[in-house]
Symmetry: C2
Subunit: 196 residues, 2 copies
């Protein structure tokens, strides 16, 4: 049995959401059908204004309601340290630590030979421009500790030989138990041990 | 760090979806930000028309684009057998078996003492009216095999003593392995064994 077309169309749209399959999409649509009409229409109107209200910052490329974004237009932040992150969510996670007072650059994609993502698909021209105009002294690589993150980090190191490049520390996560740490984490914790 | 208000509002709306937490809601919003504006606006417009396009059928209470729904208005279906289901999704699952030619009634809620859902919160007046006007001869209880489903089934049996009440068979699921069946399933499979 097929659901009415209106329901079917929404199920298809929700199925495209990350890690949402047709069954979950169906649950979402029936959840919405059980809500007040006003609430559903409010969600529809927020969605409808999203693409116009939120754009990428023309400097750091994060999603923002203003251009430049609040971080890029904050004069109190140092533009000499630039942290490279994969996306706006990672930026928010680092920002939440309140430990970083530099600026960010959202690179959006990582090098990936399997998915055929090469250097020309990365916004490297924009990055180079910022590094030159802002006279960036240090680049912190805030990318995932995965094959893609590592290759991108190494590529950036080769691309900008003149500036200091650092990356987030590898080691044991807070509150972790040695017994359950995987070998690679433990090997890194040993290699990058801190002097007390 | 707080995201811009437009993003925050949408994250809150998506967080109310079934089994969606704030992290998943965040991923949905950033997924949408990465899509073409046209695609997001299309989703917004489908959502906006959902409450007006889809209503409950005034007879069986399922969600439908027409009233009465295609099943209730299908003259070829017997109105003497009525299958009680919890919601429109369960109705669709039974309908997909193509084994049932009667009509349905969506009860929406099940008796639940913990959540204080008593008989007066169930659409029993509507159900009674259908049973009387359509001269229903058999009521098939197509409810979940849970405490709530069972209590509702027993309550319906007491409420309509004059008509035959049956329920979906309990037993081993298709393709199942005895070794992994739980005790209750196996006990039911024994108790309700079929004569070959």
């Amino acid at each position: 049995m097929k659901y009415p077309e209106y329901i079917q169309k929404l199920i298809e749209s929700f199925s495209k959401f990350p890690s949402v399959g047709p069954k979950t999409a169906e649950r979402y649509v029936f959840y919405l059908l059980n809500q007040e009409a006003g609430q559903v229409k409010e969600l529809a109107s927020s969605l409808s204004s999203l693409p116009d209200a939120i754009k990428r910052c023309s400097i750091c490329r994060t999603f923002s309601a203003s251009d430049p974004c609040p971080i890029c237009s904050d004069e109190k932040r140092s533009s000499e340290i630039l942290c490279i992150v994969e996306n706006s969510q990672d930026l928010a996670v680092i920002e939440n630590t309140k430990q970083f007072n530099g600026r960010y650059f959202v690179i959006s994609r990582l090098l990936n030979t399997l998915e055929n993502i090469g250097p020309d698909q990365l916004p490297l021209r924009e990055l180079k421009k910022i590094i030159e105009t802002e006279k960036v002294k240090e680049l912190i690589i805030g990318l995932n500790f995965t094959l893609e993150g590592e290759s991108t980090a190494l590529y950036l190191k080769k691309l900008f030989p003149g500036i200091k490049i650092s990356r987030l520390a590898r080691g044991l996560p807070a509150g972790s138990d040695l017994e359950y740490a995987d070998e690679l984490t433990l090997a890194n914790a040993l290699k990058y041990r801190n002097i007390l």
